[in-house]
Amino acid sequence: MKKGYPRFFLLPGLILLIAIIIFPLLFTIRVTFSSWNVSQTGLNFIGGENWAEMARDTRYWGSMLRLFYLSFLTVAIQYALGFAIALFAWKGIAARRFFRVLWLIPMMTTPSLMAIIWRSIFTEDIGALNGLLSRAGLDPVNWLTESGPANVAITIAEVWQWTPFMFLILLAGLLSLPKEPFMAAAIDGASAWKTFARVTFPMMAPISIGAIMIRLIDASKIFDSVFTMTRGGPGNATETPAAYIFQRSLQDFQIAYGSTLALTYLILAILTLTIIGKVFARLSKPRGI
């Protein structure tokens, strides 16, 4: 076929996207070699100073490590819970439509606004949670000022916000599964658990991988909940790269250094996600569908 037609489909989108993104990307690369900050405006050239500084920046690398467990943990929980409620909402539940709508709602809320609501829930003096605890005669928990509970609080907010995304994708996947393998399993007299392990789960592998990848991408940008609820505190105990980069770039206005951090983050994220994607692809292959 002539090349024109394939191009007609791909190129407008690709070109539009590149046109939107190319300048910001090139600019970001260029600015990392300058010293653009609050008092030095513009693109001078200072070589690799920002990069050298970043290599020494323990706060940055600390936030990176934190992101690893925070994003993997939250996405893993979201996936497990999302799968569980998707299975429940799939069949054999009374008032199915009611529950489906209810469980979708968190995804519809604005994360940055919900983060404020979550802050008002976790706030230690007038928050809902400590209010409930005190009514139950329990001691208040330092939700936002102790490293452990603060991480728990952020995890809870993230799980609440994004489990419905997993739920929706997985439920839609379940609803589109062919019926035959289930009949075969039923004829073989497989137990519910076996049917899940041998039929449902493997058939859901590709869709699961897609959903997990997209969630990982978004989860790696965890920002709203962290910034609104703890500002990365106590100390730096909940600071993620996105929050740290925000602090550097927009609060301290270290455009150049912030961009260096961000570019590094971007490269690492792409590398990590590529590797994860390859691993997933390999894991899912032998069972294949």
Partner: protein, 537 residues
């Protein structure tokens, strides 16, 4: 599928938008709609039910009075204003914009932003030559970052019968950069101590204190005493405690990014600001940061100790939480900005007439960075109040409508408006003019308690006279310095580092910032701060 929706939407939206623009344009074409006579009464009542209980006052004789402003015609002209969120500054800015539009026929577009965004938005506009705003609001400590983008305030405003002519001398200085007035000062803030009289003036509480410590209870003169009082009364139940509210020792700003640096400076200053050492509080003559000297470390050590006596959640309080917490009666002591004070004086306050003001505590020793020794201060206590920044505004240098912009700001802060704004607590306008410091106004018009008002006014006058004061680090990159400092302090408060180690890291970071911004730039800017610190101007 969506295009259809967009079409329907536009079909609805366009007529609405057109109608709206007609409404705006109509008065403009005829000039101002409001006519005024000299000395006519000024009332905010027409501007909404929230102003129903606001007093009225006579129009002033100043250059920007309502009457004088009504003579101007800015029909067809537009001002772009960037201000803080409602209500603090956001509310008066929007109100005075509406009034200004009615008086002059001009248009004033107001954009609201949170404090962090306020800084980022204007800096972005300036650095990229985007020229988005004519008038911007800011914290006056940021002058080092912004001065070159601001227009000089004309003499007509600062002198004669201009709006800023009656600013106290100290504040006139604070709004200058290199001798030129660059900021339009509409507010002046001080940090001072707030304490509960139902403890400090209560016999039972005094006896309780004596039984615990063997000492007489008096308003704390040093931070050590402050901490001790906080410790003793943490969990105590004062006579006037509002029902259902637990009592704790101290409420402070502890959240990084929540203006915590102000609280830290308050606690550190008397340990580190030595009246006998001239030439720099923040840096020495060679621009070596002092932020990790033993004076700072001593202050931080106190701060860390105090976290034990804070209310639940107190380790994560920003300014708003501090106001809220002290305002509802959570604690014995608090300090920093005026807001918690105003809050506790409101008619509905659960601790009304149970709070008094006093100067910030001092220290029983003060570090001498020259001799590297602790000095014992004259009179046993070294006081070093931090003259915190307040709200200010400015007209941008690139603005094509400077005259109109200054007229707007001048009107904003005219005699009548200033007087009324002072009475509206959440507007964020605090006493800053010579006329603001008479107790009559507060007692009669605001219905505040006289003892409280007297303690407050005398505290502020004390600051005007004190010669051992600490000022903000008014240099380029001040936000960088402050966030770096806050980050270190936050780590120490969270127990992730010892005060010494945390501040050593800050010092390292500060050196990096100085290098990044340029040592000569910072040094020359810092000379202006030293002039304030050492009372040279």
């Amino acid at each position: 599928m969506f295009t259809k929706k967009v079409k329907t939407l536009l079909a609805v939206a366009l007529p609405v938008a057109l109608a709206a623009s007609v409404v705006v344009i109509t008065p403009a074409s005829a000039g101002g709609t409001l006519t005024r006579t000299p000395g006519q009464e000024v009332s905010y009542k027409p501007y909404g039910p929230e102003y129903a209980n606001v007093a009225t006052t006579k129009d002033g004789n100043d250059a920007c009075s309502w009457y004088n402003t009504s003579k101007k015609d800015y029909s067809g002209k537009t001002l772009r204003v960037l201000t803080h969120a409602i209500p603090n500054m956001g509310k008066p800015t929007a109100l005075h914009a509406k009034q200004f539009e009615e008086l002059t026929g001009g248009k004033v577009e107001v954009e609201h932003a949170s404090f962090g965004d306020l800084y980022a938005k204007q800096l972005r506009s300036f650095q990229t030559d985007t020229n988005q705003y004519d008038v911007v609001f800011n914290g006056s400590y940021q002058i080092g970052d912004f001065h070159s983008f601001y227009a000089k305030v004309p003499d007509s405003v600062t002198k004669g019968n201009g709006s800023l002519a009656t600013l106290t001398p100290l504040y006139k200085e604070l709004y200058k950069w290199d001798g030129e007035t660059k900021l339009f000062g509409i507010d002046a803030d001080r940090h001072f101590l707030k304490y509960r009289t139902d403890v400090y003036e209560n016999a039972a509480a005094k006896a309780f204190y004596k039984s615990k410590t063997g000492k007489e209870l008096a308003v704390p003169k040093t931070w050590k005493e402050y901490n001790q009082h906080a410790k003793v009364f943490n969990g105590y139940k004062p006579a006037g405690q509002p029902a259902g509210v637990k009592f704790s020792g101290t409420t402070e700003i502890t959240q990084k990014g929540g203006l915590m640096f102000g609280a830290f400076i308050d606690r550190v200053a008397p340990y580190a600001k030595n009246p006998n050492v001239k030439g720099g509080f923040w840096f020495d003559e060679n621009m070596v940061p002092q932020v990790n000297n033993p004076g700072f470390v001593a202050g931080l050590t106190d701060f860390v100790e105090a976290t034990k006596y804070m209310p639940v959640g107190g380790k994560n309080f920003d300014l708003s939480k501090e106001i809220e917490s002290f305002g509802r009666g959570d604690s014995l002591l608090s300090y920093t900005w005026d807001d918690a004070w105003s809050k506790s004086n409101e008619p509905t306050s659960p601790i009304k007439n149970k709070v008094k003001a006093a100067p910030l505590p001092g220290a029983e020793k003060v570090w001498n960075r020259v001799t590297k020794k602790w000095d014992t201060p004259k009179g046993g206590v070294n006081y070093a109040p931090y003259i915190a920044w307040g709200w200010s505004s400015a007209v941008t240098a690139a603005s094509p409508a400077k005259a109109m912009a200054f007229d707007y700001l001048c009107f904003w802060a005219n005699e009548a408006n200033h007087k009324l704004d002072l009475t509206i607590g959440d507007m964020g306008v605090n006493p800053s003019r010579t006329g603001d410091f008479t107790s009559d106004f507060w007692v009669k018009e605001m219905n505040w308690g006289k003892p409280a008002v007297d303690s407050w006014l005398s505290t502020m006058q004390n600051y005007e006279k004190n010669t051992n004061r600490v000022f903000d680090l008014r240099v380029p990159g001040v936000s960088d310095y402050m966030t770096a400092m806050e980050n270190g302090v936050a780590k120490a408060l969270a127990g992730q580092a010892t005060p010494q180690k945390a501040l050593d890291e800050v010092a390292k970071e500060w050196n990096a910032i100085t290098k990044r911004v340029g040592i000569t730039k910072v040094k020359s800017a810092y000379q202006n701060v030293i002039a304030l610190e050492d009372n040279i101007r």
